[in-house]
Symmetry: C2
Subunit: 309 residues, 2 copies
């Protein structure tokens, strides 16, 4: 049994160690691989070159290293009939939940305003509102969005979620589809985007979307940079329609130095670090799924490439 690993360079060793600890009988080959392609049964990858996974005739499953699988779905030359599996592992989920709670509390507690007051040496209390009066909207109710919604609701926030297809979740007001988008946006003083990136969600955060939010709403963009029409976001920030933004993802990464987001006083910028897969916990999830397959059970978390997530 052999797995081909294409990680980012810095974490290759951690993956090797973690996978070996979970499944000593599995050989893990680093990318690029120049052995016998027929030996490779599994691929655990981030951003493989277009068409490259077609070279392995006995490939049984492709595991994405990240929660998003747009790096795979965008390859028109993926091998036919080989299931693609999204990453669902507790370390990634916990990190994303932390980042969502941190970002929501940052806007809820006016920390951008207080940072500006600190810079200007102004001592002034901004009247606080209770969490129950603060409406938070989450776009995307997959594993990450659902967990974040639950934790925000537990904090007392008034939480709604929006997804493509109808979903129910206790304690969360849910909306779906095109018809549900406007009413969802109209009640979201803090908007979080955790959608998958698909042709339908590309550019979904645009001037129309921003105009549908309550004036001065905060945006937390932690899905993919291509969800955002960046010129529209800048205009909305400058007009005050968007009161503040936490941006972790961008169309071009690293963000070019000429981007106005670096210096915008209403933007908190992070370099795509909202959450990352933790090799130790992720290796367990991948190995458990491989064992399921070998025991004749269906793989978990298989992507529907037709809908793109």
């Amino acid at each position: 049994m052999a797995l081909l690993l294409k990680s980012d360079i810095e974490r290759g060793d951690a993956w090797q160690r973690a996978l070996r600890a979970c499944e000593p009988d599995m050989t893990v080959h680093d990318w690029p691989y120049d052995g016998d392609p027929a030996e490779i049964e599994f691929a655990l990858v981030w951003g493989p070159p277009r068409g490259a996974l077609r070279d392995f005739p006995n490939l049984k499953a492709i595991f994405s290293i990240g929660a998003g699988i747009d790096h795979l779905a965008s390859d028109p030359e993926l091998p036919d009939g080989v299931p693609v599996v999204r990453m669902v592992e507790p370390g990634l989920t916990a990190g994303m939940t932390e980042f969502v709670i941190l970002s929501v509390l940052t806007h809820h507690r006016f920390m951008l305003d207080y940072a500006i007051q600190q810079r200007d040496k102004v001592w002034r209390e901004i009247p606080q509102i209770a969490a129950a009066q603060r409406t938070v909207g989450i776009m995307g109710l997959g594993v990450l969005g659902s967990e974040a919604a639950d934790k925000l609701a537990a904090f007392g926030f008034d939480v709604a979620g929006w997804s493509r297809s109808p979903k129910e979740r206790p304690g969360i007001a849910t909306f779906h589809g095109d018809a549900g988008l406007a009413p969802f946006l109209a009640r979201s003083a803090i908007l979080i985007c955790l959608l998958p990136l698909t042709p339908e969600t590309q550019g979904i955060l645009n001037a129309r979307t921003f105009a549908a939010l309550p004036r001065g709403a905060a945006l937390i963009s932690i899905g993919r940079g291509a969800h955002v029409v960046e010129a529209d976001l800048l205009a909305a920030l400058d007009s005050g329609q968007i009161g503040g933004a936490s941006l972790d993802v961008f169309r071009d990464e690293p963000l070019p130095s000429e981007s106005p987001f670096w210096t915008h006083p209403r933007v908190i910028m992070t370099p795509h670090v909202a959450s990352m897969t933790i090799p130790d916990s992720a290796a367990e999830a991948v190995v458990a799924n491989i064992r399921r397959l070998r025991a004749g059970q269906p793989l978990e978390h298989v992507v529907d490439l037709g809908r793109g997530y």
Copy 2:
């Protein structure tokens, strides 16, 4: 039945409305009061002038508007034998918990470093550690500290608490007294001060305390400004012994414009807003306690003025 109210000016109306809604039979007089002093049975106050509460011969209880009662305990001319009651109400507790979680996550997720990177247009991921590997220490395990400790533990942090007398709390490592302070500090990468202000805790955050922390620890100071020896904190920040600080309270408030905390790159400064009493929920707590007294039951949350909290 009459209550004398000394609030800050902006919230006087909200208090009047909230108290009237809870107890229509109670007359609420605003400070200063020039009616018959014998009519006043209860005082709900923030920072009354020294000795002023001695003027009311039938005073049965003094309610503090804030969680801290140092503004009362520091008055050597408090009326003898009249119980002083700290403010315990869900709005105040929820607001403090929010601020603690926000501040801990801010340091846990390196947001000060990312803010400096944003200013310098540097795109660089800082390796994240899991919450379970992050040690958080809370000084003060009263109502506010205990609630914050529980919520941090629920987030997966490795939480310890320190208090003057021994306390037990499931899921929290507890330390107490002088002997427990050094081992508690040695394991606290993020230190939160929620102690009451007493002669014993004045200046407790000093050079010796900071030296006992792990190098680069973060400080979250949200109790009282006088807990901190400010010159020692500045030295610890400048040496890197303290890696970052969230400061909400100061020796002199408003913070004087010449204070170096305004401009220190490793300081997040807020103007004493970590939490505030919410008149609606607080009025319910005060009225419930008054009803308890009138029914012959003991008051809840009475302060031990001898120990100062």
